[in-house]
Symmetry: C2
Subunit: 320 residues, 2 copies
């Protein structure tokens, strides 16, 4: 395990993924209280809302209020997402306080792309020049590319590393053709298909093609392997992960197949602490944020550390 | 990951660990229905009850009824545990239908041993000759030694591989002195202290001292790392694990610190399926048993596959 990174960067995506998923209405004050608690943990990036149509996603109608209401901590990037031009325009109005990223997402499978966005992967690629131009106007001449369903898809089954690399090559060609470049690559296990062997295979294949490009993993815990997949990635030096406080973002106890949230932030921070990998995050503060998340949504959330507790306290007591 | 075993042996400990932990009374019929469902999954070993004092563990007062009531499947070992001579005597009455194992347990930490059994580790070792003799009378001239808290202890903190090896050496010396030998070694992460690096370190240290001796891991998921610890163990060829259907055996949503159950059986079976390691277990049948376990205890249990679902069905649909 000699390739463990010295430190990792964790992006907290719980507020954005979780609040969107929750059925019941959560007050904007409660949402802000969770983002504010996260701001005090040492995490350096929080994706906390979406600029999407309130008609389709009423839970996110308060995006502008959220931007206005949160208390910004120094050194933290506050991020949001958007799915269309109107969303980007709304987000760009907050560019002094939001960390805008030139996001462009595709999918490992055509069917998932269609179900999710009503377009084929090729149709999505046709939209790339428009996005590149919009981002260039905002001063960003690269694209951070996210590949959804990069490991497998409930509609098309397993997705091979070759498929993902081919799609990313197309993205890069299109981007280059309009004066942009490939920035970071995000690989998302959207539906919980990945296992540790596959993590190493896909990351290996992407790295072979783009040796210097930063890779970020976004791992849903639908089938229990998310934390083991994080370990597999750490073992080959991956140092950038999305995660969700308390594992918010899915309700594993409802009948939603495949609806579990991202790997739990405090569980990943604990894993890193125990394996000697720096996160810059105060585990106790993140556990407290996890407990708050559970209070805010009003039902049990899957993260373990919020009930298991940090070993640091036990070690201290044992020494005393 | 070239040392992955071709196949693993999983011992289902959910009924024994889970029913003991549950606060509410569960009818003997319901308990039997779960054991019977497990019998049909292909698992070859089920630890389903304890012969302990009904005064101290009223949930296990029905041990004899359980033995009489379950439907035995061919090829399955039905196991139980005991903590004292009276318990072994009760179990031994069923020796035609129970798979008796010459268990002897110690702890990695003295304080945990005292809290758990009211004896120091040395006092426990003084009892070894009596146990060796009892097992010899039953035709077993070896001891299967379980080390509780082998990775860490809420009272004494981290437990080093050296401590565990030293304790096991004492066990072996005592056993040899009275004509028994060291059988298998079980390493239990009783309080959820282990991480993947530590799994490799402790298993490595034990193997270096006892190269041919089978090692079994018993991993509680108190702090989210149990499944990652299974992967770490598989990577170095460990091929024997305890696990609990649905993750029964603890309630991570109650305020019980350190009370989470064993790693979830169906999640481990899924992991093995995806990594190409044989378990002999029908994953769909084990998922159904997990769903039944949840019904029997009447509250959510932590296993993921029972809501996430087997990928095999998605793969089949995708091919159709």
């Amino acid at each position: 395990m000699s390739d463990l990174p010295k430190s990792v960067k964790i992006k907290e995506v719980g507020p954005r993924e979780g609040f969107q998923f929750e059925k019941g209405a959560i007050s904007v004050e409660d949402k802000i209280s969770l983002v504010d608690a996260l701001s005090e943990t040492g995490v350096t990036s929080i994706e906390f809302t979406s600029f999407v149509s309130p008609k389709w996603v009423p839970q996110m109608a308060d995006a502008d209020q959220m931007v206005a209401g949160i208390t910004r901590a120094p050194g933290v990037d506050y991020e949001a997402i958007w799915l269309n031009e109107a969303g980007l325009e709304r987000a760009a109005k907050h560019r002094n306080t939001l960390a805008l990223r030139p996001m462009f997402s595709v999918a490992g499978s055509d069917t998932f792309m269609r179900k999710n966005t009503n377009r084929s992967v090729d149709e999505r690629l046709d939209e790339l020049p428009g996005w590149a131009e919009r981002y260039q106007k905002l001063g960003m001449d690269w694209l951070d590319v996210g590949v959804m369903a990069a490991f497998g898809c409930n509609y098309e089954g397993d997705v091979s590393p070759k498929q993902v690399v081919t799609t990313l090559q197309k993205v890069e060609q299109k981007a280059n053709a309009c004066g942009s470049r490939l920035g970071g690559i995000g690989l998302a296990d959207t539906m919980g298909w990945a296992n540790p062997l596959q993590i190493k295979r896909l990351v290996g294949a992407v790295r072979e093609r783009w040796p210097g490009t930063p890779i970020k993993l976004h791992l849903h815990d639908t089938r229990a392997l998310a934390i083991a997949n994080v370990v597999a990635a750490l073992e080959i030096g991956v140092d950038c992960f999305d995660s969700a406080v308390a594992g918010i973002g899915g309700c594993p106890f409802a009948a939603h197949k495949g609806a579990a949230g991202n790997v739990t932030t405090e569980d990943v921070v604990f894993l890193c602490q125990e394996m000697g990998v720096e996160t810059g995050i105060d585990l106790d503060a993140m556990i407290a944020a996890g407990q708050l998340a559970e209070k805010v949504v009003g039902h049990p959330l899957p993260g373990k550390l919020k009930s298991g507790g940090n070993l640091a306290a036990y070690r201290e007591r044992a020494r005393a």
